[in-house]
Amino acid sequence: MQRVLMIIPAYNEEKSILSVVENIKKVKTKDFMLDYIVVNDGSKDKTREVLIKNKLNFIDLPCNLGIGGAVQTGYKYAFYHDYDIAIQFDGDNQHDASFIPDLVTNIKKGNDLVIGSRFVGDLSEFKSSKLRRMGINLLSGIIKICTGVKIYDVTSGYRACNKKLISYFANNYPVDYPEPDSLVQVLKMKYKVREIPVIMHKRKTGKSSINGFKSIYYMIKVILAIIIADISTKGDD
């Protein structure tokens, strides 16, 4: 039976983290074992207290590393404990846990990375604001040019990967805004990537890490990161 680890990065998620874990525990698993690990990324609110009080399985980082550093900690944990599949899952209730079996099934079909996507299929009603979608489309276009593969939801943090990629991510993972960057690396190395439709919800608590003026800085930084990843990742060609 395959062992699956949910990696849940949490920064200041005291209000949502418990329900996120409870939703994961409710998922019915027939042909795989589902574990989770919350990575508390130096939260300044009571996230840590909530984790201890409810006896959740968590790693407590001594200082804040940013989303990429927190997620990579999860991959390292998965690598050390020899998990077969790792799934990234946001700590703010945006992702719907009922799609976990879908992601696992698609990994079992031979895909290396499976992305839960808002933009394929008609499942997700929440598709982010217009401006943000424009940004995502632009990034998607650039990634298509760099790698030749069209991925629609390039910033989705709801992703599953197999053992090969767990060991790769444990050692190579971008620190900030990591999704598009790591996606390019994976595509350049000719791993099989697939997008499947999922439902995403509007966040109820907390704030998005990308807002206002930061979004322009974000776009510039991500585009640069994509180009650098494109040039510096060695593909088979």
């Binding site: 968590f58 790693i59 980082l61 001594p62 550093g69 990579q72 944990y77």
Partner: protein, 117 residues
């Protein structure tokens, strides 16, 4: 270049040099990273003392006054030093990230170990 400016700059370099020594003895600065500052000061002092010889070089390169050339090269060296420091900072950041992650995982394993007892 006026003799007053030269003397002022040399005194400044010497004071700065002593301050670096002071920090090394106080163990606040590692010898490894003080060396680039020492070479910077020594180069500046040599340049300042040899201004009469520098005159012809200044004309050859196309600077109008010696002081401009000295400041220009001082500026270039400072840029190199700060770039080296940025590179160093980046590698430090990566190491700290790895350490933080490993400490987090170790803390987790340790807690599990204590629970078993």
């Amino acid at each position: 270049m006026s003799i007053r400016l030269i003397i002022f700059l040399i005194i400044f370099c010497l004071v700065f040099g002593f301050y670096i020594f002071y920090n090394i003895f106080k163990r606040k600065l590692s010898l490894q990273y003080s060396l680039m500052w020492f070479s910077y000061i020594i180069l500046m002092i040599i340049a300042l003392i040899s201004t009469p010889i520098l005159g012809s070089i200044t004309n050859f390169i196309g600077f109008e006054v010696i002081s401009n050339m000295i400041f220009f090269f001082g500026f270039i060296i400072l840029m190199i030093i700060s770039f080296v420091l940025t590179k160093f900072l980046s590698s430090q950041k990566e190491k700290i990230t790895t350490l933080t992650q490993e400490v987090g995982i170790l803390k987790k394993e340790l807690a599990k170990y204590h629970e078993k007892d």
